[in-house]
């Protein structure tokens, strides 16, 4: 089985950790990281910490929505743009 995940060390697991959290690794590489984490308590705790951190940033930073007044202005701009298409 040539696509069997190879064993990786702590440094390689750390190098690939964010890609692992972001779901950017190939299935084989992801499995190699998962297996390392299952076997290494230090890296498992580090991965838990980094995952919590990334989810925290995502949740906090996505909370903002466009203000209503700005949404209305954008709609008006588009309407006005159509009304004025004949004049450059």
């Amino acid at each position: 089985m040539t696509d069997e995940p190879h064993d990786i060390d702590c440094q390689e697991a750390l190098d690939r950790l964010y890609e692992y959290i972001d779901g950017e690794l190939t299935p084989q590489r992801s499995e190699a990281v998962r297996r390392h984490l299952a076997a290494c308590a230090h890296c498992l705790h580090l991965a838990g910490f980094e995952t919590a951190y990334v989810r925290f940033v995502e949740a906090r930073a996505r909370a903002r929505e466009v203000p209503d007044a700005l949404r209305r202005r954008v709609l008006e701009l588009i309407l006005f743009e159509d009304g004025g298409t004949d004049t450059p």
Binding site: Y18, E19, D22, E24, H45, L46, G48, F49, E50, A52, Y53, V54, F56, V57, E58, R60, A61, R62, A63, R64, E65, V66, P67, L70, R71, R73, V74, L75, L77, I78, L79, E81, D82, T85
Partner: protein
């Protein structure tokens, strides 16, 4: 001859759902609300004017964010953020885990940090860091899409995201220590 009503309907249905995303990214690029609002209006107007160039079925979010980014670079960046850009590759990877593993290994101190402080810390990041972080963590874009929007190779995107996250983590950790949410490592 294009029907203006049809054009407006398709723009409203396909592009406007991404207005929040455009606003958040604009905010992080411009750094302040008033300028971000100008940037959003300019971007959406440009997008509407070139809506005929958008190919239906392709990624409308990436298309809008590309227009946003170009608008910002052309008109705002020089005026607003003239600060030095950094060589992101020169900054060593760093995680605060080593500092907190004995007192708060699960990172619960993060939850005590308020939204505004997080946004301020993001805003204080150097340009290359901020842009990568905003696109990945605020907007949840895959690395490939970030590479397309920022016109850099995937490897560069990857390294910018990593370093951005670690620089931000360091700032938030320092803030948490300062606020007494977590003891400083002795």
């Amino acid at each position: 001859m294009p029907n203006p009503d049809e054009k407006r309907r398709s723009f409203e249905a396909e592009a406007l759902p991404y207005l929040d995303a455009v606003f958040r990214v604009a905010l992080s690029l411009a750094g302040e609300e008033a300028q971000a609002e100008d940037l959003v209006q300019e971007t959406m107007l440009r997008a509407y004017r070139s809506w005929h160039q958008y190919r239906p079925g392709t990624n409308v979010r990436a298309w809008l964010l590309t227009i946003l980014r170009n608008t910002f670079i052309n008109q705002y960046r020089k005026a607003k953020r003239a600060g030095p850009t950094v060589d992101v590759d020169a900054i060593a990877p760093y995680t605060v885990f080593g500092d907190v593993q004995d007192v708060d290994p699960e990172g619960t101190f993060f939850d005590r940090i308020v939204d505004d402080e997080v946004l301020r810390a993001i805003d204080a990041l150097p340009d290359e860091f901020r842009e990568a972080l905003v696109l990945s963590d605020l907007e949840g874009l895959p690395y490939s899409e970030i590479a397309e929007i920022t016109q850099v190779p995937m490897g560069t995107v990857k390294s910018r995201i990593f370093r951005a996250r670690q620089a931000l983590q360091r700032r938030l950790y320092d803030y948490a220590v300062e606020m007494g949410y977590i003891p400083r490592r002795s």
